[in-house]
Symmetry: C2
């Protein structure tokens, strides 16, 4: 009988924000296949490390490239698709041998998570269980110290990888908003916030819930310094 | 020394989706003040019941009214504000007596959670710790069986209590969307989806992650039947 595939949401970074279910299911699998830039390291491995058993096999899913300013976009897509194909084949081998496999996912598996690409390739062939996780969005609002949205307000989550014009267009439709995937895009995001007259109430949050968490007004961030795990939170503000 | 106030996210309904931190902090307080429509019952009490200790005091925060079609809007706001004032005074008494108080919150405390109203009244006077929870939004996408958003897609969360025109306007700006707070508003939401040409890919999810979870195409829902804990998920769809 084939093994079962688990996509397990780990939450935003604090290992204690894992759910009881995530811990139980993680400890029940034979193989933990964790995404990373380098075998033996990485955020997801750091979160789960304390829960792993010695009998479990650790299988790193090592990204061949990380997106960067010099990368040619279509070449990057080709290489990353080949990576998902190859690692899916390796995971399928474990499953076909009857071994259960868990892929731990920082945040939530279906909310901008890489797990979606393995899910798309494997869930049709193998029984798959997906466990939700606390999204960095809600952890970011708590770090910012302000409720994100009240009553009839909408919340829009905007990837910072969109163009400045697209970001402004989305902000224009939004009550509360969170801009994610900052990285090298921060100068553009800051400009979009300023031109949308939202910079004053925007709060920059770096590594929400992690020990190295940092929070400051977005207007005070020196551009070009934000790491991957950072976001800008724009609370809706209390309405009556 | 005054006690500490905790706002504790419980997640979407499955008690096993509580975080390790939520369980630890909940069990450490003297008083658990739980919001409910009737003392001794309610969704939050059901989620935490298995974790409570006999030595803990249970203090129900009983809503005086629930929103309904016959309720006059301004009278409703007055009564609900008086309720938050009175219950905040009661919680402040526990805290002043040096007792720690936890308010358990279904979902996440700062994401459309009632906790925000106690937070607004008490966090300036008492040390307050807020613990994030898994939002029903991400649990809903997992129940729907489709990743919510890919790469550069935006996600918009829309309260179903907005007018049909406002819902259509927000859908028009959105890639992926989730419409929450359905209840009696479902016929209007369905019409907005139909007129926005999004009904075909909309998935109705009732009580995500709970034992009574129900999932079906939004087009097949008989109008007027949706309970409070229901939503419509509109996945962004995979993009290359």
């Amino acid at each position: 009988m084939a093994g079962r595939l688990y996509g397990i949401g780990l939450g935003p970074g604090d290992p204690e924000l894992m759910s009881l279910k995530a811990v139980r299911l993680l400890r029940g699998v034979d193989v933990v296949a964790y995404p990373t830039a380098r075998a033996g390291t990485g955020v997801s491995l750091g979160i789960i490390a304390a829960h792993l058993l010695e009998t479990q096999e650790l299988f790193p899913l090592v990204y061949p490239v990380t997106a960067g300013p010099g990368a040619d976009a279509s070449d990057y897509r080709d290489r990353i698709n080949a990576f998902y194909d190859e690692t899916s084949a390796a995971i399928a081998e474990f499953l076909e041998a009857g071994r259960d496999v868990a892929i731990p996912c920082v945040g939530d598996p279906f909310f901008y998570g890489s797990f979606m690409y393995w899910y798309g390739r494997l869930s049709g062939r193998f029984e798959t269980v997906v466990v939700p996780g606390i999204s960095s969005i809600v952890a970011g609002a708590i770090a910012a110290g302000q409720p994100l949205c009240f009553r009839t307000q909408t919340v829009t989550v905007i990837p910072g990888t969109l163009s400045e014009g697209e970001i402004m267009q989305r902000l224009n439709c939004a009550d509360a908003a969170v801009i994610i995937k900052l990285g090298r895009t921060f100068a553009k995001v800051r400009s979009a916030l300023e031109r949308s007259d939202m910079l004053g109430r925007a709060i920059y949050v770096e590594r929400a819930s992690m020990e190295t968490q940092k929070v400051l007004p977005a207007a005070e961030v020196e551009t070009g310094t934000s790491p991957y795990f950072s976001m800008v939170v724009i609370p809706g503000g209390e309405i009556d």
